[in-house]
């Protein structure tokens, strides 16, 4: 899969950007604040992902406008598709593939696959569990439409169930108990499928992360990935019964896949608290590289690789080892200085100034 051309209209600081990309490596050079990351973000949104910067629509639309447009020409096995996204501050944002509306934003992932490396990736290790859950779920979702649907259902069921618990105001009435049985059944069905799928995924993903970690860090320290989900020992149905009183008191769902975490052990110790900054950075890179490999394996397609100012954060050896691990796919990387490590050979260079692409 290759993105041939990208148009950004009123997207962040891009007023009207039109760039042609080739199937090699594109280097985007520009000072900070001139729209490099915005370009990467626009490309990433084409894959149906949420903004990797956690941005809301209001932040994505250029100020003074109500809608932003991201459009792209995508080539899949010599078939060309046109992807169009309208992000609007008024009403619902929409996405189309070849003028056909997609039902869920995420379904764009069937046409565009992308992996993004960003300086914020350290949060994957140090940040709250929600970031790691997203990493898991977003990666699985890319090639698993059923999981995608159930994941959406889970959020919906949780919202309903939490509302029910909140309305109870701490009292477990007969009516509430009957209603809970119904919502628990739906929650359990969705949760068990999500739990199974995540576990299956981590069996494949974990060893690959360990491999890449050792390559990037240049050391043989063992890395293990586990999903921390206590409810899996008994099954969610039983766990819900146990926590029912607590849940009624606190008015929210306290157990289930929405509270799980991805535990990453480096030398048998939790990397979140025990790894050094350098080790954490290597691990974050390994997570992204493993994500790439997973998507490629499952989809049989080479995802687009987006590297947002990644090398500036790395020492020379680690940068070189990362370059050695990078796949031979379409790559877009940004740099403030324009210098790239040895081994990166851009086939074109774009220069960005105030959200405008200029000839370098």
């Amino acid at each position: 899969m290759i993105i041939k051309r990208l148009w950004l209209t009123n997207f962040r600081n891009h007023d009207e950007t039109d760039v042609e990309l080739n199937d090699g490596t594109t280097l985007v050079v520009g000072l900070n604040g001139h729209g490099k990351t915005n370009l990467i973000e626009g490309l990433y949104l084409l894959s149906g992902a949420r903004s990797f910067r956690g941005a809301k629509v209001d932040a994505l639309v250029r100020s003074g406008h109500t809608s932003a447009y991201i459009r792209a020409e995508v080539e899949n096995e010599s078939r060309t598709s046109l992807i169009e996204i309208e992000l609007t501050t008024q009403g619902r944002s929409k996405a189309q593939v070849n003028k056909q509306k997609v039902k869920r934003f995420r379904d764009l992932g069937d046409t565009v696959r992308a992996v993004v490396f960003s300086p914020d990736d350290l949060e994957l290790i140090k940040g709250p569990p929600a970031i790691r859950r997203s990493l898991l779920d977003d990666t699985i979702a890319i090639t698993n439409p059923e999981f995608r649907a159930v994941r959406t259902d889970l959020d919906h069921i949780l919202r309903q169930r939490n509302n029910l618990l909140k309305q109870a105001k701490g009292r477990l009435s007969n009516d509430l108990e009957t209603s809970l049985i119904i919502w628990n059944e739906q929650l359990v069905n969705a949760a068990e499928l999500i739990g199974d799928t995540r576990e299956e995924f981590i069996h494949q993903f974990g060893p690959s992360v360990a491999d890449f970690y050792q390559q990037v860090a240049g050391r043989n320290d063992p890395v293990t990935l586990n999903i921390e989900a206590d409810w899996r020992h008994t099954g969610l149905a039983e766990a819900l019964v146990k926590s029912q009183d607590d849940e009624v008191r606190r008015g929210m769902t306290l157990v289930g896949p929405h509270r799980d975490d991805l535990l990453m052990l480096l030398n048998s110790l939790p990397s979140r608290s025990h790894a050094s900054q350098g080790e954490q950075r290597s691990l974050a890179l390994a997570l992204r590289l493993a994500t790439y490999l997973y998507i490629e394996k499952v989809s049989g397609d080479q995802p687009l690789v987006l590297l947002d100012d990644v090398f500036s954060e790395l020492d020379e050896t680690r940068a070189r080892r990362l370059v050695e691990c990078l796949p031979n796919s379409q790559i877009v990387l940004t740099s403030a200085t324009g210098t790239v490590p040895e081994g990166v050979n851009p086939s074109q260079t774009l220069s960005l100034e105030e959200g405008q692409v200029c000839a370098p």
């Binding site: 008024q90 009403g91 309903q160 169930r161 009516d175 009957t178 209603s179 919502w183």
Partner: protein, 198 residues
């Protein structure tokens, strides 16, 4: 915030389902620009429907009389009763060829919108089951989370009564709406219904 009547209109519109504050404002200003005659026609249509149309006392479908034409039709006494969420679902099932009786719940369980069993026509359904001859109760709530929850709830409530309870097959697009399923798909889903064991 606007003055008096304009804000009143925005507030009223904002109470309609699926209309947020921004849309309410947009519709209000559209109405303000409307020729007087058109506005009166709209107002009259609302008043008229409220005056002439009510709900059938038996099945809670919309009806001009206390008992709707479907409930009064003796040929519909087939022993099967189809439970749906909204009047539009009755139309969809009619198109799909169902020829029994209906019961319109007037919604689905939805805690987010404050709709519990009490807000639905469930009590009325229970009393119908004891009064009328029902051999099979077909749960045709929508194939989405709320519809599924409602079906589960009903099947639990109905279990002690010992009547046959079936659920429309899940051949319908998941997360969907009966109304949007084409008649062939809906007809097949109806045919492929399965019995629920409590």
């Amino acid at each position: 915030m606007y003055d008096g009547p304009v804000q009143d209109l925005i507030d009223e519109l904002g109470r309609l389902p699926g209309v947020g504050p921004k849309s309410a404002q947009r519709i209000a200003f559209y109405l303000l620009k409307l020729p007087k005659g058109d506005a009166q026609q709209l107002a009259a249509a609302i008043v008229e429907v409220k005056e002439r149309i009510g709900f059938c006392d038996t099945c809670w479908n919309i009806s001009e009389s206390e008992r709707c034409s479907l409930c009064s039709d003796p040929q519909r006494q087939t022993g099967s009763l189809c439970v749906v969420e909204e009047p539009k679902d009755v139309i969809a099932l009619e198109r799909a060829g169902f020829r029994g009786r209906y019961h319109v719940l007037q919604g689905a369980l939805n805690p987010m919108e404050g709709i519990g069993p009490e807000q639905l026509r469930i009590r009325e359904l229970m009393s119908r089951i004891s009064d009328e001859e029902v051999q099979e109760l077909i749960l045709c709530t929508n194939p989405n989370i709320e519809g599924e929850a409602t079906a589960m709830y009903l099947s639990r409530q109905l279990q002690p009564l010992g009547i046959k309870v079936t659920r429309i097959a899940s051949g319908l697009p998941v997360g969907g709406d009966l109304e949007y399923a084409d008649e062939l798909t809906l007809g097949r889903a109806l045919e492929g219904r399965r019995e629920l064991q409590g």
